[in-house]
Every structure is written in C-alpha cells, then in structure tokens.
C-alpha cells in the first residue's frame, strides 16, 4: 500500500485538464460550473440518484463521474445517500409502474428548492420501452423534470454538461 501512496504523491494526478481530447474543454466547463455554483448554492450541489427502472447502464456512467478522470467532487458536486440531503434528483430509466410510488415519495422527501435531471433516453419518454403497459413513460410522467440529458447511456461528460445547463436554468429562474 505504501508504494501506491508514494506513487500518488510523486506522480501527477490523472485528473484531466481536458479528459476527452477534441471535446469542448471539460475543464472550462468545470470552472464555469464552479462559478455558478458559488453564486447560487455556496460551494456545493448535492445529488441524489434514483433508478426508476433503468437497465443499470446509466448507473455505470454515473459511477464513472467519481473516477479520477472526471473527479466530480472537484466541482463541488457530490452524491448523497438520502433525498433529504439533496438539491438535485438525478433520475434514470423509464418509470416503471412498480417504482412510481417510490419515485414520488423520494421527490416529496427532497427539500425545496430542488431540481430534477432525467438522465438517459429512457428517462425522456420511456425510450425503447415506450408503449409497455409495465411503465408509465419518462420521468416527467411522475415528477416535474427541469432538464434532460440524452444518451444510452449518457457519457460522463454529457452528464457533467447537463448539470451545468441545469445551473444556467436555475440561475435564470431565481
């Protein structure tokens, strides 16, 4: 373990100034995000992830946000274990009949002001599951949605960009 710690001290961090070559600079995105966050919510924005029926693909990419390349927390964004501590609900999946009540309750448990980000193609309108009697539709069929991040699943960069767009909207609404 000592070797890993020493190497961590001696080498440069993996966290990328621009994680994806050729992509609109994510570092810039991060700086913009941070500036808005400080204006609006102090130094942090707390997110509660809710899987309302996804295939688990979106969850994998949400997990990736925490890896050393994207390092979500450097932007003041972090995930909370309870909706009661959250500013944002990040909801994935079409909303299944069997999860609708749990999603409603989670939304109710989140204090105001709150925002809902629907992540993934299914979260928009049910995606490839649209029309199934076992689902109610997209996230908006059950709780009001402020922003949608497309993708199947959305890449970690797309998720970050989505959170920035949300803050833009939150700033204009305030």
């Amino acid at each position: 373990m000592r070797k890993f710690l020493l190497q961590g001290l001696m080498s440069r961090p993996l966290t990328e100034p621009a994680p994806l070559p050729g992509d609109p600079a994510v570092e810039e995105l991060g700086r913009a995000l941070q500036a808005r966050l400080r204006g609006r919510l102090g130094r942090s924005l707390t997110i509660r992830a809710v899987d309302a029926g996804s295939c688990n693909g979106c969850e994998l990419e949400i997990h990736a946000l925490a890896n050393p390349f994207y390092d979500l927390e450097r932007f003041g964004l972090h995930f909370a274990a309870s909706p009661r501590h959250a500013d944002v609900l990040l909801v994935t999946g079409p909303v299944t009949r069997n999860m609708a009540e749990a999603l409603r309750r989670t939304y109710t448990a989140t204090p105001d002001p709150k925002w809902v980000v629907a992540a993934g193609d299914c979260a928009r309108d049910g995606g490839c599951f649209a029309g199934s009697p076992a689902i109610l539709g997209g996230v908006a069929a059950v709780v009001p949605v402020d922003l949608h991040v497309p993708g199947c699943p959305p890449s970690p960069t797309a998720l970050l960009q989505g959170l920035l767009a949300l803050l833009d909207r939150a700033a204009t609404r305030a």
Binding site: F4, S54, C55, G57, A102, G127, C152
Partner: protein, 483 residues
C-alpha cells in the same frame, strides 16, 4: 430421462424441435432435478404452455420440455426450490398457476400489498431497506430480520424495475428484439445481444461469419474485464478500502475509452446483431484496445498484491457471506457466485461456442464460498480474459462481419437457443420466430435468477453491516431479473 437430443456441437446452430411433453415427462424431469441429476436452466411461460430448459452437466447436453397448459401446471418448485421464483413470474406474466407450489405470492406483479414471510423468535427486529437504496444502485427491497446485529433472515422482494421487456419483444422484428436484448441488463449488453443473436442464428440455421464471432468475443471479454474491475474496486470500497476503487476505476475507464474508440460505444452496445456485427474492427481500433489492455496487464499484479497484502481488508472479506457448494450446485449458480463455491460450470468451456472452442483459457474456481473467494475468482478471470483478448486480437480472421439471415423455411416458424457466458454467469435466450419472421416469443433468463436466492442464504449469521459487502460480491442484476 431422455432429453430432446441436442448435442452441444449443434446447440447454437440448429433450430430447436418443439415437441409437447406429457405430464409424466414433466414429473420425471422434476424428480431428476430434485435428485440433482439435472440442473434447471430456465422455466418460462408462453401462450397455453409452460417450458423448462434443463442441463445435463455430465453429458454437456441441454433439453427443452414443453408442457401444454391452459390455466395451471404441476409445480416444479415444490420439488426443486430454484424453480419457485421462476414459477411465480410465470403466474404473474402468463396467468398459469403452478399447482401445489409452496409459495403462491406474486413476484413481478406489485398490485397488492405483499405479505413477507412471518418470523418468530426472541428479541427479533426488522430492518426494511429499499427500494431506493443509499448508493447508486438499482432498486429492490431487502427485509432483514436481525437478532442484535446478526441477520437471522433476509427476504428479498424484487420486480421494481419490471419493464415488460418480453411483452415488447412479441411481434417485434429481429432488429428491435436485439435493441431490447441489449437493454435488459445494462452491464451485460454484449452478453445479451450475443445470446439473442445466437438464438436467432440457431432458429434460422444461419451462423455468423468467423470474423464476426471473433469480434463478439473481443467485446464479451472487454465487458467481463470492465465489470470485474468495477466489482473488485466496489467490493473493496464497501469495506472502506477506497484506494482499490480508485485504482480499478482508472483501469475500467481506460478500457471503456478504448472500447469507444474501437467500436463507437463505451460499452459496445448495439455492435452485435443477428447475423454478425454492425461494425468491423479496424487496425486503429485494435491498437487502442492493445494499449489499454497492456496497461491493465501491467498494473494487475500490483492490484493483486495490494489486495493480498492488506490484512485489514481481508479481515472483512475472508469467511464473510459464505455460500455452501451444495447450494451453489443445487441452484446451478453461474459466474463468480458458483465458481467461488466450487461449481466450475462455464458455458465457454462446458458447452463451448465459437470462437471459444479454439482458444486456450482456464476456468477459475475457488472453494471458499466467501466474499474473498468471489474477489479471487474475479482477479483470476481478469487474468484469463487478458490472455483470451491477446489470442483473439492476434488471430482475427478475415472475411465479412455480417451475413444476411435467411427467413425461416418452415411455415410454422422456428425456434432457437442462445447461451453465452456473461461476466455474471450464463445468459440464456430462447427465441421463437413466427412464419412471418417476427418474434413470436422471446425469453431472456439472467443468471441472477439463481443467484439472488443464494444471497439470502449467504447472509444468514452475518452482521447487517456486512450486507453491502456480500451484496456487491454477488452483484446480481435487478433489471435482468425483473425484465
């Protein structure tokens, strides 16, 4: 017991014969399952029939029984507990009641209040968890009954992410079917799409070209690597050893990026299609993959040493959540759950399919049955997948990557089976095509069906605080199970 004669060689290339069986055949099969002579591979319903796929592990053969049923069928779960949840799902989705079943509660249907099993004893308390969990994971409900800190019973309730996938499949074309198969369990999209493609190709007796088979295996091993690395990191993180998560997530990200470069999608989704693959592997793609794999191979020994040399971590994993070999065998548990409890079944070896029949690899098996054993099986499989990938990339055959599937010749349609070793275990697909070439019925069976019940057994006698560790070491799929 005479199984539908299907030798392993033609399992995935020959249409399945659909013969109705008698009640006597059905009960003979139940007795063979109960005696441990056969393993239950799948049990599903369809219009006016219930079907059961059986595996004879010794002979390496699979058979499918079809019992005509209007309203009820003789319960298999009465004799063979692994069938119970499958039967409850059949009752929910097809209205076919398992007669004599020990548990008549609904499973995937959540319309009525759910009576949990009664618990009796001194000083017991219950802890309900979910469906919305504290972590970023799929939804399900766990009802713990504890005495002090010790779990005396865990009862799972699943079905929260039931999306009606099989109903959407019915009447759909093959392309739409492949799309849905790839979205059944997001972490296993490659395994599902491959199994679905196998079933379609078997039904139409139309195998994919060799180069496509190779590319599929590249994708499947990349999926296994990425998921195993994610799991190893997450299991250690659940024991508060965050360094392993950070190290593993670096390697996982490198693999996903290389997959993106090579196949245009970070998880290789929608590359596999019935008839072959939709995208060829270019020399640039191969180079990107080789670079990422070299980094994983270079860092793996240090991660193994880190795990092996951290006593405080092993203190949490060794002996925790022990699953007995007998239960693993009875339930036909696949993947790391079975292989960490001595069940060495791996469909790449036991019922091989192209290109695995021509590749060298070892099936990693441990017998500890605990969280530690499940971590080691993953480490071993990472090593084996690296070996497989270097063989695959070095021996890519030339030729086309896709063939046109011929329509079913028989006027009554055709059926086929797919069986692919995903990272979690064997993914089984049964596909029936109608005379118009559209899907008449498709059943997708996730390995989790036979692993979830074992988690209930493995946690018994452990403390609640070790549940996340046990759960992550099983890493069962909710979506793949709930369909």
């Amino acid at each position: 017991m005479d199984l539908t004669p299907l030798a392993n060689a033609d399992l995935r290339s020959t249409p399945l014969r659909r013969d109705h069986c008698t009640l006597s055949d059905w009960s003979t099969a139940c007795a063979a399952l109960e005696a441990g002579k056969l393993t239950l591979l799948a049990l599903w319903g369809e219009a006016a029939a219930v079907r059961m796929a059986l595996l004879d592990e010794g002979a390496g053969r699979i058979g499918v029984l079809t019992l005509p049923a209007e309203t009820a069928f003789p319960s298999v779960g009465r004799h063979h507990p692994p069938a119970q949840r499958l039967e409850r799902a059949v009752a929910d989705l097809w209205g076919l009641a398992p007669a004599g079943a020990p548990d008549a509660r609904p499973w995937l249907g959540h319309t009525a209040p759910y009576p949990f099993l009664p618990v009796e004893g001194d000083s017991l308390h219950q802890v309900p968890v979910g469906p919305v969990h504290a972590g970023i994971i799929e939804p399900g409900h766990f009802r713990f009954t504890a005495q002090g800190e010790t779990v005396v019973r865990l009862e799972e309730r699943l079905g929260y992410v039931h999306k009606g996938i099989e109903a959407l499949m019915t009447g759909a074309g093959l392309a739409r079917g492949a799309e849905l198969a790839g979205r059944t369990s997001g972490d296993s999209c490659v395994a599902y799409q491959w199994a679905f493609a196998q079933a379609a190709e078997a039904a139409l007796a139309c195998p994919a070209p060799p180069r496509a088979q190779h590319i599929r295996a590249v994708l499947a091993e990349l999926e296994r690597l990425a998921n195993h690395l994610g799991d190893i990191g997450a299991i250690c993180n659940d024991a508060a050893f965050a360094m392993m998560l950070a190290q593993c997530s670096i390697l996982r990200e490198r693999l996903l990026r290389a997959t993106d470069l090579a196949f245009g999608h970070r998880m290789g989704k929608d590359v596999i299609a019935p008839g072959g693959v939709t995208r060829d592997l270019t020399p640039d793609g191969v180079a990107a993959l080789e670079a990422a794999l070299a980094e994983v191979a270079g860092r793996l020994p240090r991660l193994v040493a880190l795990y092996d040399g951290t006593a405080s971590l092993q203190d949490r994993t060794v002996g925790t959540g022990r699953l007995s070999p007998d239960l693993a065998r009875q339930f036909g548990a696949g993947g790391f759950v079975g292989r960490a409890s001595g069940r060495s079944f791996d469909t790449r070896r036991a019922l091989p399919y192209a290109p695995y029949d021509a590749l060298a690899f070892a099936v990693a098996t441990r017998d500890g049955g605990c969280v530690n054993a499940r971590v080691w099986v993953r480490f071993d499989e990472v090593q084996e997948s690296l070996g497989l990938l270097s063989q695959l990339l070095a021996s890519l055959p030339g030729g086309p990557v896709r063939t046109d599937l011929l329509p079913a010749r028989a006027t009554e349609g055709a059926e086929g089976i797919g069986l692919v070793e995903g990272f979690r275990g064997d993914v089984f697909v049964h596909l029936a095509l109608g005379p118009d070439g559209r899907i008449a019925r498709c059943h997708l069976r996730d390995p989790s069906w036979f692993q979830w019940p074992l988690l209930e057994a493995a946690i018994e006698g452990n403390i609640i605080a070790d549940f996340p560790l046990c759960n992550k070491s099983f890493n069962c799929s909710y979506s793949g199970h709930d369909l």
